[in-house]
Subunit: 166 residues, 4 copies
Amino acid sequence: MAKKILGVMGPGTNPTQNDLKNAYDLGHLSATMGFVTLTGGSKAGVMNEALKGAKDGGGDTIGILAFADKTLASDYADIVIVTAMGSARNNINILSCDIIVACGMEAGTLSEVALALKAKKKVILLNDNVKAKEFLEAIGKGEILVAQDFSHARKLIEQLVNNDQD
Amino acid sequence: MAKKILGVMGPGTNPTQNDLKNAYDLGHLSATMGFVTLTGGSKAGVMNEALKGAKDGGGDTIGILAFADKTLASDYADIVIVTAMGSARNNINILSCDIIVACGMEAGTLSEVALALKAKKKVILLNDNVKAKEFLEAIGKGEILVAQDFSHARKLIEQLVNNDQD
Amino acid sequence: MAKKILGVMGPGTNPTQNDLKNAYDLGHLSATMGFVTLTGGSKAGVMNEALKGAKDGGGDTIGILAFADKTLASDYADIVIVTAMGSARNNINILSCDIIVACGMEAGTLSEVALALKAKKKVILLNDNVKAKEFLEAIGKGEILVAQDFSHARKLIEQLVNNDQD
Amino acid sequence: MAKKILGVMGPGTNPTQNDLKNAYDLGHLSATMGFVTLTGGSKAGVMNEALKGAKDGGGDTIGILAFADKTLASDYADIVIVTAMGSARNNINILSCDIIVACGMEAGTLSEVALALKAKKKVILLNDNVKAKEFLEAIGKGEILVAQDFSHARKLIEQLVNNDQD
């Protein structure tokens, strides 16, 4: 049986300090809840912190690389999948996850939120960008769950897990 | 020498009447300006109208299909490229265009705008969604050009062409 | 209506002189038969020669790039599609063509022949590699058409066109 | 640190009995040698047997799906990666593995062998197809290691592991 995967999508470059802390906490939470944690696998930013949190929480981790060089993957990725297909790999990140959290916001993360909506998958939004939340909630038509902070994100994850088990 | 390509990204399903009219006009303009017109190639919505406008304007057209069945492509696509890779093909749409116009707004279109920003490519936004414009302009940091209407979009396209020739 | 596409698959590096001559002749034939000619779009080897032949024959041409930099495409590609997804783009080459000729033989070309067989598409094999022909004919189960030389390849293309029209 | 991945590539449909037995044994061996075992993730043929062998050997397993429906993955895949990109996913299989064994031979498997050669990665060939071995050994220029039987394949895997550690 396939293990459940929780994906943390977020900026590799220029994350906020808050994004990084949230990413670590999300990875840790994911591990303690029994999820495998998945990110884009880079050695930087939200991708790296989420995997680090998951490893510290005793969980398994996956990095889905956009590029070809496996040695550039995060040290916290147990499983490194090499796509070498640039941002087209963002769709694989989304399709592979059971629970998706967008932690922080930049162009790549936004593409992942949009690809999730296109695939009719729910996304938990955790960031400080008020306009992002307003716009995505409107376009998301019920698929976007806006988290006020990490503690709220945790509650939303637990709700999704419970709904899934009903 | 490669011909210049103008891409019109927009909803296949549930476009507004305004989106459809703009799509047709953009395709027609693209043709008369000498561009090859590219869309996602579906037989519906903005994708279909933009290609129809381009054919009526005497231009060449390309459809980059997300799916595998070439017979489902728009009748107005001269060249049909079959990717069979779902929404991951959105990145190919973006990378292949010299000028990108997002005409209308839904999840797939949003992913294309985001993938363009990720690739550091400019996007002209033409739609009636005020929140979309505000948010994307903010996240786009100069790469997002907001058009008030079709006539404004034409001016923005002409500016990009002129900048490119400088 | 979509134009018919003839694809010439073959080595970018280390083609034989015979491969290059055949590639040019195939591109030229494709153009005079009214096909759009498609290759992997590189500025080298079979890919470049086939596009050159097609342009000299007055035809339209497409290059589907494996890499991201459009300026590295063949000068003979009218339409340059940028995938930036490495060898995964080989599947797009195959799925997009109505007629496929493998001209020459190396690893990338072999992957294209195999992907065509997987997609249940016919492939005309034109090369000097006797073992390749024997093996691929056996694995291809009627989908592989072995051409003895260019003139034979032309007859096979004409047969496929006629079958298609029946 | 990324775990080492051993990939078993082979037919989902119409494998020989020998292919299936070899696939199971390869998965089991992979697990006992400490590898994570990767296949294309289908519920059938070599893909399924290799993952079953790996689970019986106490190992971790990954399935990289060509299609979109995660519920159709092999029950023996711990981690299911959803690409929904058809045969273009074959390149991801190849790029992600540290050791590659082609077990059996049909069009999809052949594409994977070819994509591995294109990426300059070694492939161990284990099948009963004499012509396949001769042809691929010739085109592979030292990257193709032909195994006479499972016991020989095991020795070749051990050699690759030892070379890697030097």
